[in-house]
Symmetry: C2
Subunit: 200 residues, 2 copies
DNA sequence: ATTAATATTGACCAATAGTCTAAAATATGT
DNA sequence: ACATATTTTAGACTATTGGTCAATATTAAT
């Protein structure tokens, strides 16, 4: 039988948590693997048992964090029984923005990686292994169910995520928090336009 | 008097050209400074005379390449005497997309960095030292000249560039070139919308 | 030609990445 | 409960890369 691991307390999780802490505090470049293993209280060999290198641990973090965020959003969405696909997408985007604004550290870490988090093949593999519903699945299903004709739904979703990403990124361009609510109406108009018009 | 340098043949340029070649061929991670200096036929010390580290040389490359691209676009724009700001911006975006699609290596290198190329403070400094007209200046001037009321022109431009970036990025998501012309009409509608509606 | 200033080199040291084998911990069979 | 097999962990070790610096070469100025 496999060893029973306490959630978030095994060495792999400790490495992930420590890496996230150090990446967000000091940045990728100034965090060495030695730093990570020292702070996580494991030996260096253990790191290489679980991860290929620093960049793999980063990709896994992006995948886990953003997947968690979208899954929470999807859970909330289900409580609200929204029919229209545009409104569903906007609900999710809105939820994600609000969460990211509440957690600036997380925002800083994944805002520039949201789209690569969906398209990067390493990251995508982790999404799939996760097995849970993704915004991708919701979107594709929604397009079908609502008989919306998009030339390339994947691309449309990609552009929506890019817009989300850039909206969030705005708020870290400036040191003080941006009045993000002012941007929302425009963003949502654009999304409605994208899905409604069938331009793509 | 300063040493007369043959354009593109001094050690600094050789380092820049070599770095770009290696970065695009092997990626940032698999290119060491030793690789760069070996291929450029200069000593390691020389590298550190001109650049702080690998990341500075990357930032300089992004700034130079994208600045060149936008300046070429601006030059073309002037030959065409387009009055309307939306149309000017679309002209430039269109030019940039076409050039990037023609040069996939360059595209791969800067597509994900176009926005950071405008906002990253290191990169921006290089833009300013360059002193030439930038899309940023054109846009701000255009907004004033045309009495367009945007809440935050810088943010509007940022989002337009993000959209350009994501459109271009699409074409490298797939191994075969994408029919990018199909996406253009939508992109241009969105830009017209952004500038015209005064939503931001 | 002599001196001053600047550019260049590559040996050298430091930091970090990544490997590997021995030991410890855990699981499994009897 | 004990012996054996399997998995996990440690950290010393090697390899690679980053970054420094004093010596040398090149160029400019008088």
């Amino acid at each position: 039988m496999k060893k029973e691991k306490t959630e978030g307390n095994d060495k792999e999780s400790r490495l992930l948590n420590t890496a996230f802490k150090l990446f967000t505090e000091k940045g990728m470049k100034d965090t060495s693997i030695q730093d990570i293993v020292d702070n996580a209280n494991v030996a260096k060999g253990t790191f290489y048992l679980y991860f290929k290198d620093k960049y793999e641990i980063r990709d896994i973090l992006i995948a886990k964090k953003s997947s968690k965020l979208f899954n929470e959003a999807l859970k909330e969405l289900r409580k609200n029984y929204i029919e229209n696909l545009s409104d569903q997408v906007i609900f999710i985007i809105n939820y994600v923005i609000d969460e990211l604004v509440k957690a600036p550290t997380l925002l800083k870490f994944i805002s520039k990686n949201l789209s690569s988090g969906i398209y990067n093949k390493n990251v995508r593999k982790i999404y799939e292994e996760n097995g849970e519903d993704s915004i991708y699945k919701l979107f594709i299903k929604g397009v079908e169910d609502n008989h919306i004709e998009l030339k390339n739904p994947e691309v449309t979703l990609f552009m929506i995520i890019e817009l989300l990403s850039s909206t969030c990124f705005n708020s870290i361009l400036y040191d003080e928090p941006l009045p993000i609510n002012e941007f929302k109406p425009y963003l949502y108009d654009t999304i409605r336009n994208m899905i409604g018009s069938g331009n793509l």
